[in-house]
Symmetry: C2
């Protein structure tokens, strides 16, 4: 019997009626003869409420205890969901991350999954029961302490369980119909993506699209688990994320999967870096030691007269102060002249596996930006992505212009987009 | 180093300031050089709120899932308490019942502790940390499912851990100064009991005094763990419950430990029971099969003319319907004539280890009731207790009269009494 893993986010289980609706959806799948494993997040604002409580008690709570506290959230939602399913006449058993065999490292608040041993889940399925698993949490391999997986944790839990149970598909339920070619709050005529590759999803996630989290897509790619992003509220097909989205397709695959903007980065320029071997290594080693998450990097050719060059990179705004300090601390050994920083930037990206085999994609992209009067400050490309950095206030115009230029506009307006929760 | 176990109920950790106050109290004990293990209940109304949620989702939630849900309550309070202690500069680690080694049977909602394996708690103490343990919960031996211990569960958790860790004392913190000779809401001049025996506490608990729960006192007696019931808000000595309260005492031990009333019972009379061997056995077997908790039993001598007698017993009001049905189902084999039931009763008890060696206790008791115009409907005695059944509306007068007659009245008025929570 095929195993189907279904993940429901916090907004899908925000109150008793929502939990009962989700329970009906799950029983529907079970009724069609599937083995069903459900991964669930904490109800609505529970996590934020618990964080508030923690902050009332201590300005700097230890990670171990914060994880213990926050995991109470999924404990509630999963037990309530199991009750609602039971009420519909099916057997359901809820399991914590620890009970479900989600073994992690000990990095509280951002633990990585290192093994999945779903013996109890398989046992529940063998007994004909629906297994409900707490998302976002696990147990550390060495200390046996409760851990949380951090952002995107519940999606990752779902994919990890799907892989360990050799599931047919991992369904990620959300409050929209799937993944869109752009954020419908910005691009009103964004259209639903039917199928996309893992690589395109990775690039879209990295480009700031608030759809699936990077680590969840990475896990799915590594395990070759198809992800189906679909709506909690409608039975229609959503977006399939698979290894080869063209397989079995009868239509020509569209070139572009989507466009996205990311307003969370800052830009730092290191001015007057001596143009000699090992300088870039010294810079990025210093940033890595300070745990700065560097995204785009651009280095201009050096001015011949000075033998010096400028290096510009982007990183999350939250890392900026740490990055500046790390560079200043290393100024003596690197030998640059000075630093500038800029928080007013936006990264706008075009993603699509088709672009490598279609000439003229770059030309169309830059023409669209030019016609929309968008000034380009940095450029970075990969095999399936072009990103530019521009001013924050130009981001929406850039998105709209590129979306239209690549023929992504839908006939009607898209439903309003919302994130998939943690 | 002496281990001290401290238990704090839900009202002691109802909000962030309360949690911080309890944390200071704990750090105080730790600062005096003790190894400290803390057992904590869920915050304030959390348990009731979770039960409300469960009832919104399902009218009859399965016990396994209800336990999973309710145990989220202690998870929150223990993590927050650990954070607050951490903030005061001490190391604290919180543990679920399962992590603390509280192994139970599988009776969800009313599990019994069958073993305590506190390896992780001992490890935390060895590391110099304060261990915080979730009260009221454990893990089942066979299914490894999360269980709850039911009423009095947190007190029992504390005593069980104290026994397993060979603690010097188990301190039960509450919002009054200790155990009183009567409920101060009824008997305004109730006085604090300084020391009492396990047996007296068992009789008081059974008699309806909302102090320590029966099973907690039973566990302490079996393991010979001294219990110290004291106030969260004051450093004064509370009430010690020990094997021999007269040991080391210099004063003469008072005869009477206290008086209590229980308004939660109903009375059932089985009229016209054939007076032959095996009838009582048949009756109480039928009630046991129906899980009816029988308390007092009185059988009158039979009327010679009929060869029949009446049997009267009391049981919790909640068991009454089940008891009546069980008896009706067995009417054919038992052969009684009819049943009457009465929910308007109160049980009033006088408890004290001293009464067996002091003549005249019964006489004083019944004279006091008579002078207060209290009508006695049933009488039952043990070595250290006399109980009567009267009308509900006579209970307070009976309590007050007996309290005064035995010289228990304090000089001033007692602080208002409140229960110790679950």
């Amino acid at each position: 019997m095929a195993v189907i893993v279904q993940k429901f986010g916090g907004s899908s289980v925000a109150d008793a009626p929502s939990i009962q609706r989700v329970a009906r959806r799950i029983c529907d799948t079970k009724g069609h003869g599937h083995d069903v494993v459900v991964v669930v997040s904490a109800m609505g604002d529970t996590t934020d409420d618990l964080l508030d409580l923690a902050n009332q008690v201590s300005p700097d709570p230890p990670g171990r205890e914060l994880d213990m506290l926050l995991t109470a959230g999924e404990r509630m939602s999963m037990a309530l969901l199991a009750m609602a399913i039971h009420d519909l006449g099916y057997e359901a058993r809820s399991y914590t991350g620890s009970q479900a065999g989600l073994i992690t490292d000990s990095a509280h608040g951002r633990a990585r999954i290192i093994d999945v041993t779903p013996g109890r889940i398989q046992g529940a399925l063998d007994d004909g029961a629906i297994a409900i698993v707490a998302g976002f949490q696990g147990v550390s391999y060495d200390s046996k302490d409760v851990t949380t997986l951090g952002r995107g944790g519940s999606d990752t839990t779902a994919v990890a369980l799907a892989a360990a149970l050799d599931a047919e598909v991992c369904e990620i339920y959300t409050d929209v119909d799937g993944i869109f070619t752009a954020d419908p709050r910005v691009v009103s005529r964004a259209s639903k993506v039917g199928r996309a590759s893992y690589e395109e999803m990775l690039e879209l996630a990295a480009a700031g699209a608030k759809v699936l989290h990077l680590r969840c897509v990475e896990y799915a790619r590594r395990s070759d688990i198809p992800i189906h992003v679909r709506s909690t509220f409608s039975p229609t097909e959503g977006t399939w994320v698979v290894a080869d989205p063209t397989a079995g397709g009868t239509m020509e695959q569209p070139i572009i999967a989507g466009v996205a903007a990311d307003l969370n980065d800052a830009k730092i320029t290191i001015i007057g870096v001596p143009d000699r071997p090992g300088e870039a290594a010294a810079i990025f080693r210093a940033l890595a030691v300070a745990s700065v998450n560097v995204d785009m990097i651009v280095q201009n050719v050096s001015a011949e007269a000075t033998g010096r060059t400028d290096v510009t990179f982007t990183c999350p705004k939250g890392d900026m102060a740490r990055a500046l300090q790390a560079l200043l601390d290393a100024q003596g050994s690197i030998g640059f002249e000075r630093l500038t920083s800029d928080e007013g930037i936006a990264k706008v990206s075009l993603v699509g596996a088709g672009m490598r085999s279609h000439p003229g994609v770059s030309a169309t992209f830059f023409e669209a930006l030019s016609e929309a009067d968008v000034n380009v400050e940095m450029i970075s490309t990969s095999e399936i992505r072009i990103s530019i950095v521009t001013r924050t206030e130009s981001a929406n115009a850039a998105l709209q212009a590129v979306h239209t230029a690549f023929g992504l506009d839908a006939d009607g307006e898209a439903v309003v987009y919302a994130g998939t929760g943690r």
